[in-house]
C-alpha cells in the first residue's frame, strides 16, 4: 500500500468559480478542526455551567419566565435542580457534572464560553444556524468555508469529512444542510461517512473487477486521450479531468488505509474504548478523526445522537437518563481524543470544538423530568489549535437561563473559529448574487479572551 504522504499533490481541483488562493490571511497555529457536535442540545446547567442556585430554588415557580422561550410554549414548569452532582477539577477548579468522569480530567486544557446564545429554538433551524451562521437554507457550512479558505492538504481524501451518529440512529435533523456548501462550489461540501465499511462513495472497484483491470482502463483512457490529440483543443481543465481519474485511482488504494483501525495499538483502542459497547461506536469515529487529521484532512465533524428526539441529547422527558446515556457514549472517546492528540503533538495544530445547537431551560418541562430547549444560553468549549487553555469566558444569570455577561453570538463563535484558523472572517468572502458574502454575514466579533 502506498504511503499517503507519497501521494500528496499540490494541484487544486479546478473550478471556474473558485479562484480563492487557499491560504490563511495570517499565521495561525491551527491547521485543522475536529468539531464534536452534540446533536439534540445538551443542557448547559447539567454539564459545564454549574448553578448552585438551582438546588436552592428547586421546585419554585420562575416568576416572569417568558413561556415562548422553549419549543413547547406553555410547558415550562417550576425550576428544576440538576439531577447530577458537580465537583471541582484541575488547577482551574472547574465545576464539572458527574456525567463526565474522564473529560473532567481535561478541564485545564479547555477554553470555555459559557455565554453562547442562538436565535433559533428548534433543532433543525438552530443546527443550520450553528453550522452556516444563518437559519435559512442555502448558505455554506463552517467546514465548507474553512475548506474553501484553506484548501486541503491531502488530495487523496476529501477535505471536509462528516461522521454522523455512530450507532446508526440517523442523520442530524438538519440533515445534509449541516455540511452543505450552499452557494460555494460543490467540491467544498462535507463528505458524510459511517464508521464501518467503505468510507467514501464508490471507492471499491465494481464486482468482479480488480485494481489490475482498472489500471488497464486508465491506460486505455490515457492512450485514447492522446491518440486524438490533434483534434482535441488544449485546455487546462481537460488535463485536470484526465488527472482526476488517476487521482481517483490512487484514492481508491490510499483512502481505506485512513479508516482501517487494525493498525492502531491495543493501548490506543483501550484509551478510546473502542470495544466498549456503549461508547465503542463513537470511540471509533473519534479515532478515525485523529487519523484523518494526521493525514491532512482539514475539517472533521462528528455528531453524537441521531434523528429522533429520544435518540439524541434532546432530554425533554427524562434528562437524567438521557444525558447519562449520551455522556456515557462520548465521555471516554472525547477525553481519549484530547489525550491522544496531545501525546502525538497534534493538539496545537488541531482545534477541537464541542457544542450543541442551543441549551436547555432551568425549568422542568411539564409532564416529565426533562428540560425544553433554550436558545438563550449554552456552553461551547474549545481545545488546542490556539485556543487558550483554561480560559473561561462569559457567564449566564444565576439560574443559567440567559447569557448575562459577555454574550457570544453564533457569528462571534464563527469569527473566533476562523480567526484560530488564520482566517479573517471579514475577508473570507464569496461573491454571490452581487454581494461578497461572509460566514458571519455583517456581524461577528472574535472572542480574543479565549485566543492563546
Amino acid at each position: 500500500m502506498l504511503a499517503l504522504q507519497d501521494l500528496l499533490r499540490a494541484n487544486q481541483p479546478s473550478t471556474e468559480s473558485a479562484r480563492h488562493r487557499h491560504r490563511p490571511h495570517f499565521p495561525a497555529k491551527a491547521k485543522s478542526v475536529i468539531w464534536l457536535f452534540m446533536h439534540g442540545a445538551p443542557s448547559q446547567i447539567d454539564t459545564w455551567d454549574y448553578k448552585p442556585e438551582l438546588r436552592k430554588r428547586d421546585g419554585q415557580t420562575y416568576d416572569g419566565f417568558d413561556q415562548s422561550t422553549g419549543f413547547f410554549a406553555g410547558l415550562g414548569g417550576p425550576i428544576m435542580k440538576s439531577p447530577f452532582n458537580f465537583s471541582q477539577h484541575g488547577e482551574t477548579s472547574t465545576w464539572v457534572s458527574e456525567i463526565y468522569p474522564q473529560l473532567s480530567q481535561h478541564v485545564d486544557k479547555l477554553a470555555m464560553i459559557h455565554s453562547c446564545y442562538a436565535k433559533e429554538n428548534n433543532h433543525a433551524p438552530a443546527q443550520i444556524e450553528m453550522n452556516t451562521g444563518m437559519a435559512r437554507l442555502g448558505f455554506p457550512s463552517v467546514g465548507s468555508w474553512i475548506t474553501y479558505g484553506l484548501g486541503t492538504a491531502n488530495q487523496n481524501l476529501p477535505g471536509f469529512i462528516v461522521m454522523y451518529d455512530a450507532k446508526g440512529r440517523g442523520t442530524p435533523k438538519s440533515r445534509s444542510i449541516s455540511w452543505g456548501s450552499g452557494f460555494l462550489p460543490g467540491m467544498y461540501q462535507g463528505t458524510p461517512l459511517s464508521n464501518s465499511g467503505a468510507p467514501i462513495n464508490h471507492l471499491r472497484p465494481l464486482p468482479g473487477r480488480s485494481n489490475l483491470t482498472q489500471q488497464s482502463q486508465l491506460d486505455l483512457l490515457r492512450t485514447l486521450s492522446s491518440s486524438n490529440d490533434e483534434r482535441t483543443p488544449k485546455r487546462p481543465e481537460l488535463d485536470a479531468r484526465i488527472k482526476s481519474f488517476e487521482l481517483a485511482y490512487r484514492m481508491q488504494i490510499a483512502a481505506p488505509e485512513a479508516f482501517e483501525l487494525n493498525g492502531e495499538t491495543v493501548d490506543t483502542h483501550r484509551l478510546y474504548g473502542t470495544d466498549n459497547p456503549q461508547c465503542g461506536p463513537f470511540a471509533k469515529q473519534a479515532l478515525i478523526s485523529r487519523r484523518l487529521i494526521e493525514r491532512g484532512v482539514r475539517f472533521v465533524q462528528l455528531f453524537s445522537g441521531g434523528f429522533n428526539n429520544e435518540d439524541s441529547w434532546d432530554g425533554h422527558t427524562n434528562l437524567d437518563k438521557n444525558h447519562r446515556q449520551f455522556a456515557g457514549e462520548t465521555d471516554q472517546p472525547i477525553a481519549a481524543l484530547l489525550t491522544d492528540l496531545e501525546q502525538r503533538g497534534l493538539l496545537d495544530s488541531t482545534l477541537v470544538v464541542c457544542c450543541g445547537e442551543f441549551g436547555r431551560l432551568p425549568l422542568v418541562q411539564t409532564g416529565g423530568t426533562g428540560r425544553d430547549h433554550n436558545p438563550l444560553a449554552f456552553t461551547t468549549w474549545m481545545a488546542g489549535g490556539g485556543a487558550k487553555s483554561g480560559a473561561r469566558y462569559g457567564s449566564t444569570d444565576e439560574l443559567g437561563l440567559r447569557a448575562a455577561e459577555n454574550p457570544v453570538s453564533i457569528n462571534d463563535l464563527h469569527a473566533t473559529i476562523l480567526h484560530l484558523m488564520g482566517l479573517d472572517h471579514e475577508q473570507l468572502t464569496f461573491r454571490h448574487e452581487g454581494r461578497d458574502i461572509r460566514l458571519t454575514d455583517v456581524e461577528g466579533v472574535v472572542v480574543n479572551d479565549i485566543v492563546a
Binding site: L137, K167, P185, G186, S216, S227, A248
Partner: protein
Amino acid sequence: MATLVATCAGTARSQPNPDSTAGTQFFDESVSEILTKRCIRCHNPSKTSGGLDLTSNAGLTAGGNSGLVVNRKAPEQSVLIKLVEHREKPRMPLDQPKLPDSDIQNLKKWIFYGSPYSRNLSAPTAAQELVKVDRSFWSFRRLSPVKIPQAGESWAANPIDAFIAEQWKRAGLRPPATASNPELLRRLSLDVLGVPPSTEAISEFLNNTSPLAWENLVDKALGTPGYGERWGRHWLDVVRYAESYGFEHDLDNANAYHFRDFVIHACNADQPFDQFIRWQLAGDELAQDNHLARLATGFLAAGPRNADIAQVRVEQERYDELDDIARTIGSGFLGLTIGCARCHDHKFDPVSQREYYEFIKVFDKSIRGELDVTPIHENQGDTVKALVAGEGIEPLARIYNPGPAFYEDTWFLNRGDVNLKEFTVSPGVIGVITSEDHIDFDQWTHTNGEESLGSRSSLAKWISDTDNGAGPLLARVIANRVWQFHFGRGIVTTPNDFGARGARPSHPDLLEWLAGELVKHDWSIKHLHRLILTSRTYTQASLSAPPTDSQVELFHGFPVRRLDADAIHDSLLSVTGQLSEELYGPSVVSMASNRKAIYYRIKRSQLHPFLRLFDCPDTLQSSGKRPTSTVPSQALALLNSLEVGQIMADFATESLQTNNNDVSKDILQTFEQFLSRKPSQAELDTAKDFVRRQLDSYNHKPSQRLEVSLVTKGITFKLQASEQDTITSTQTDTVQAWSGSRSLPAFTPLDPSKPPRYRKGTDAAIQFGPNSTPLVFPNRNFSKIGTGDFTFTVRFRVPIDGGDDNQLLGTDSFNGQAEYSGFYLQQIGTMLRFTTRNTSVGGPQGYLDITDRFEKGRWFVVTGKRSKNILSLTIDTDFPNTASRAEANPINIDNDVPFKIGDIDQDPSGRLNGDISHLLFYHRGLTDAEIKQNHDALRASPTHTLIRTPLEMAVADFCQTLACLNEFIYLR
C-alpha cells in the same frame, strides 16, 4: 470649509441669524438633499426612528428620545454630527455607507447657521426617491432599437455575427474556421437535446447536400420534445424547483411534478415567454379555465417550507416564504437581487426596503396547496392532484404548530425582524424598472371584463410590460439566459444579477438587439434559439490553443465546456440505447428506470448523488448557472458506481449479441455511438488490444467471480434463487418450493394457487407480488429462537413501483389481536426496521430503524442479528451502516407461527412487492467480520448483475472507458 468649521468650533463668535436668507439658501443648496436622501426616510412625522423627526426645524430642535441632537454653539459636539461621523453609535445613516466628508461639513455649517429650514421636507415615497440616473442604468432602461453594425460582411450569416465580428475587428481577431459537420451535429444535439446524435442522424446529415441542411437540422432539434426537457431543466434551476419541503422533515411534495411537466410542455409549445412568466405568477387569475395556467402556479409553491416550527416562529416563517418568492422572482425573472432589501435598503441597487415589503404584499394571501387539476398527459386520467398556489385553497400540511397559513397584513419589518413591525404596506412595484408615471400600483390593476383580478395579476402585467413596466429587464435577462445556454457564458456573466454589482454586458448592443427581437417576435424563445444556432458565431470551431481572456469574452472560437450533470446522465443512457423517451409523469428515484435525469425526484435533503456530484443545483435558491467542478469523486462515480456499471454491462451484453460476438465490429459500432465518429486504425487497434487484455484477466481469474465464500459455520439454512434450490411448476415459472437442503423441509407458498415467481438468469430471484402469497416454512422447530441468538442475511430489491411498505421476512404472530410475538424485517420508505417483540413481556418494544439508507430499484444486502439481547441491523449500501439497540427485556420469541418470506406476520396487509435472491439464517450471532464476509460474498455473488461472461465484462470495460473520455464528457 474645513477651516471655517474648525474655527467656529474653537472660538465663540457672533452667530448668524437662523432666519437669515444665507442660512435658508445654504439649506436649499447644500443640506435639503442630504436630509431628503439620507435621513428623513426614517426620521419623519409618521416614522420617527429614535423619536427624531428631521423634516422640520421644530422636529430637529425638539430632539430625539435621547435628547437634543444639535448644538449650535459647538456643531462639532452635536449628537447628530457624532453619529454621522461614526464617533458614536448608532452609526448614521443606519446600515448605509458613511456620508461623504463634504456632506458632514455642510451639516456642521448648517448647524452653525442655526439649522434653518426653508420649508418642511416631506418623506418621499420609495419610488420618488429615485433619481434619473438610476432609471438610466443600462439594464433598467426602456428597450431601444439598435443599429446593426457593418462588420463581418463576408462571414456573417445573421446580425448576431455582425455584433460579434465588430468587436473581433476592434480586437484584431479574424473569424476562426467553421466546425466540421460531425462536430456540429454532436454540438447541436448535446446542446439542445442533452444527448449525442444517433448514428442514423449522423449519416443522414452527412449525406444531406441541401444548402439549408443546417437550418433544417436546427428546426428539427428545436421541434424534438427533448428540447423542452433540456431548456425546461434550465428554467427549473432558475426557479429553484424541487419536490420536497426541505428542512428537518423534508416531507415529499409528491404532486409537485406537474409544474415540471408544465414547464416542459410550455417550452416545447414555445409559449410566449411573457405569458409563460405571467402564468407562473398568476395563471389561476389570468386564465381561469386553463388547467395549464393553474399548473404554472406550482412555481409559487416550489420553494422550501418548514414543516415543524415553534409557535413563536409561525409569522417569521411566513415572511421567509414570501421572501423566497420575492427573491426568486427578483433573481430569476429580473436579474435583480430584490431579496437584499429585506433588512435594509438595497446597498447597491436602487431598491428600497419599503419596496421590498410592498412587493411581497402582492403575494401575502397566496398559499400553497393541492388541487384537482386536469393533467398535461392524457394517460394520467381525468384529474390529478397537483401542487399549486393561490388564494383560498386548503393549505399544505405542517407537522407541528400549523398556525395561520397567511396573515391579513404585511408589515414593514425593521431589520426584517417580525418583532419590529413598523407599519403595514400596500402592494407595490419596483420603481426603478417602472416608468415614472406608472409607479402607482393601482394603475396596474388588471381586469377581466368587469371583474378586477387580484394583485398577482397586476404584478404579472407589470413584469411583462415593455412600455412602462419591468418588461425590458425581463427580456434582457431571458435573452442572456438563452445565449448562455448555447455558449456556456452569458453576454452578462452574472445571469441572476443585472444590477450595479453584476457584470456589465460584453456586447451591450447584441443583448439589446436580442431582447428586442424577442419582444418583436411575440416573446418566442425558439426564435432566439434559432437566431443563435444559425449564426456563424455558433458554428465556428473551437480554438485548439487555450483562448485568451479577451477571446473568451468576445466569443472567439466556440467555447469548450463540460456537459452538465443531466447531459452526462442522459448521454450515458442514450448512447447505450437505454434512454426512455417517455415524457412527463411522476418522478422516479433510480437510474434503473432509464428515464431522463429531469424525471428524478428532487428531494432537497437527498439530492441525486450522481447529479449532485456533477454540480446540479441545491434547489434552495435560484441558480442561474451551474458551476463545473473537476474532482476525483466524479471519476470514482464513473468507474465504480453500480449504476454506471449496470448501464455498461447491459449494453455490452446486448451489443455483443447483436454483433454475434464479433469484437471488432462491436468496437467500431460502440465507438461511433459514443463519440459520433469512426475510430482511426490506431485507435481501433488499441481498443482491440485492450479488450483482449481484459478478456485474459477475466479468463484467468475466474475465482474473482466469487472472491469470498459465505459463512457456513452454524448455518440453519441457506436459500438461493437458483435451479438447484428452487422447484418450479413445469409449465410456468411459479415457485412450488424453495429449499437449500434436502434435510430440511422447503418453504412453500401459503396459498399454492398464488405462488411467487422464479426469475432465471443473471438476475435470478424469487419475485413476490403483486398478488402472490408469502413462502412459509412449515416446521417451526427448525426456526425456533426463544430468547437465543440468531442472525439472518438477506439480499433483496424493491422495484421502483413497489410501494413504501414492504414486509420482507419474519416470524411475527400478529394477526390483529392484542397479543403477539416474533421478529421481523420491514421496509418503510427509505427506512428499514428490524424488531423483536413479545407483547406478553413488557408490551411492544422500541424499534431498531436505519433511516435514509434504503432506496427502491436496487439490490441491498441486509443482516439482522440478536446477540446477547442486543439487536443490530447492517445495511450494505454506498454508505454502509450498522445500527444497534438493546432489548429492554430479553424477548422470548415463543409463538408457533411459521417463518415467512415475503411477509412478517399473520396479517395479509403489507406483503412484499419485490425480489429476494438469497436468504441465510443462523441460530447464533455472527461476528462483525463474518457479517462483512457474507456481505462481500453476496455483493460479488455470481448472480450479481454486473458479473457477466469474461467477454461481456471486457467489452463493458471498454464502453465504460469511452464514457470517461473528455471527448465524451465535453461539448465543443
